[in-house]
């Protein structure tokens, strides 16, 4: 197992995976509390259309995907009264565009498969550098506006009355969601991104502690899930994204059961 760490591609995967794990589980906590997790799922599926479009036009597919994801998040937020319908609409449009493009040009079906399910072991040095720089910027934003984000998440109208620039912070946060989705495509793929965003936060919420501790626990679970997932999938030659998500779900199940047992113990004592 230690031998794996001597390979460059494996080091890249571990470092890149951990960085994505950190930002996904950090922003995931805010999204879970805002009941906006499905926005990520909808937007991630539109990324599929964007990736296919980029490959068709010969442009970097991640750039077209980023543009499409930003547009889809804007549309979903505009249709506030019908958010779930807007998500379904975006999901359907993005995926159908992707499928049409694939059927027109059959040449890049293998690339598309890696985007759907991730290809963490193929992260290059350049990609790792981009992930690192973006993660630093996102972490700085989340640290600087930590309390403002909590206030907006708790009660948006009250945050406005307090003088917090809700629209500015929310727009930057939406941009971060879009960038995180694009970066995560390489790690877990379009279909399982929502798991990396949701499960660490949901697990941390079971612990029932302060907000700061919940953020730390969520991030730790995200990182542990990614590291274990990469190692186990490499050892047993399994699909990395699937193993990462399976481990995260397992951690959630263990913590959930533990918290329920604790509640029963407290009631009976």
């Amino acid at each position: 197992m230690i031998e794996l760490l001597s390979y460059q591609f494996f080091q890249n995967a571990i470092i890149g995976g951990c960085l994505i794990g950190i930002i996904c589980s950090w922003i995931g906590l805010f999204l879970v509390l805002r009941r906006q997790v499905m926005i990520v799922d909808g937007a991630a599926h539109t990324a599929f259309g964007g990736l296919a479009l980029g490959l068709l036009l010969g442009i970097d597919p991640f750039i077209t995907a980023l543009i499409i994801v930003i547009i889809s998040i804007l549309i979903i937020n505009k249709m506030k009264a019908f958010t779930d319908s807007a998500i379904a609409l975006m999901l359907a449009i993005g995926f159908s565009i992707g499928l049409i493009i694939i059927s027109i040009t059959r040449g890049f079906s293998i690339d598309i498969f890696s985007y759907l399910f991730g290809s963490i072991l193929t992260i290059s040095r350049e990609e790792l550098l981009i992930i690192s720089i973006v993660t630093i910027f996102i972490a700085i934003f989340l640290l600087l506006f930590h309390k403002e984000l909590i206030a907006i998440t708790f009660n948006e109208r009250n945050a406005r009355i307090m003088g917090i620039p809700v629209d500015l912070i929310s727009n930057i946060f939406n941009l971060i969601i879009a960038i995180t989705i694009i970066l995560s495509i390489k790690i877990v793929g379009v279909i399982l991104i929502v798991a990396l965003i949701t499960i660490p936060a949901l697990t941390a919420l079971q612990i029932k502690t302060s907000f700061n501790n919940t953020v730390i626990i969520s991030v730790l679970i995200g990182v542990i899930g990614v590291i274990l997932g990469i190692f186990i999938s490499a050892l047993y030659k399994l699909a990395t994204s699937g193993v990462i998500v399976f481990i995260l779900v397992s951690i959630y199940a263990i913590v959930y059961l533990y918290s329920k047992i604790e509640i029963i113990k407290r009631r009976t004592s």
Binding site: L33, L144, K147, N155, A159, I164, P165, K208, S210
Partner: protein
């Protein structure tokens, strides 16, 4: 000093005139009750004053500045309707929550310093909730939640505190304790307070002004010889009758 000045205010919502030609002013140190039937426009009036809803016509001044130019929001603390009906699973402690009150336009992206935390501790102590500071907000009682919101309002060190039906569905003892705290803030700390309430006894016993809102908006001072029945009929209609005498409050104040 005029804390709020409203002139010829008309507000329309969903094609219906909700506030008609409102004219009133609130001075520094006033303790004002806002009463009126459900759907009468009380919340609309507050949210319009706070710049959260558009006006059809009229002017609003906060601290003698037109609302369009007003940017000193740290002077105002607002506790919204049903504030205490939040998600009990929200992962935040009472102390963390109260500290959010230190946020504001001029403090964006700033980490809380020693002085901020001192203010938080002072507010927790004033509201008598220091002992539950590290508890999660979902684990405390309704009365404690109300005091937590007031503590959050207090750490802003606001000059004006606005509360929209802060204590609906609460037992009379908790209500009484809550109004007692508000009275302390008004009398001892000199805060101007506006509170939407259905507790008419509390309004007429404790407050010095009352605003009746039922599309039309009427303001009256509460004194020994105030025609309370007349005020209430403006708010609730000609057939409304409420037996109340201002002198009945005296004992209550002495106990305070």
């Amino acid at each position: 000093m005029k804390v709020i000045e409203v002139r010829n205010l008309n507000v329309m919502r969903n094609g219906r005139l909700v506030i008609r030609n409102a004219n009133f002013e609130i001075n520094k140190g006033d303790y004002v009750g806002i009463i009126g039937p459900n759907g009468g426009g009380k919340t609309t009036l507050l949210l319009t004053i706070l710049g959260q809803l558009p006006r059809l016509s009229g002017t609003i001044k906060l601290f003698e500045k037109d609302i369009e130019e007003f940017n000193e929001w740290e002077k105002i603390a607002f506790i919204p309707q049903d504030a205490i009906n939040f998600d009990n699973n929200f992962p935040i402690t009472v102390k963390e929550f109260v500290s959010l009150g230190r946020l504001g336009k001029n403090k964006i992206g700033r980490r809380l310093n020693k002085e901020d935390w001192e203010e938080v501790n002072k507010a927790l102590e004033f509201m008598g909730i220091s002992d539950i500071a590290n508890k999660r907000i979902g684990e405390i009682s309704i009365g404690q939640k109300q005091r937590m919101f007031l503590a959050m309002a207090l750490v802003r060190n606001p000059e004006l505190i606005i509360l929209d039906e802060p204590i609906s569905n609460v037992d009379p003892i908790t209500q009484e304790k809550f109004y007692k705290k508000l009275s302390d803030l008004n009398y001892k700390e000199g805060k101007t307070i506006l509170v939407v309430s259905h507790d008419l006894s509390a309004v007429f016993c404790r407050m010095n002004k009352v605003i009746c809102v039922n599309v039309d908006v009427n303001i009256a001072e509460i004194k020994e010889n105030t025609d309370i029945q007349g005020i209430l009929r403006k708010a609730y209609g000609e057939h409304f009758y409420f037996v109340f005498h201002k002198h009945e409050c005296k004992g209550e104040f002495e106990n305070d």
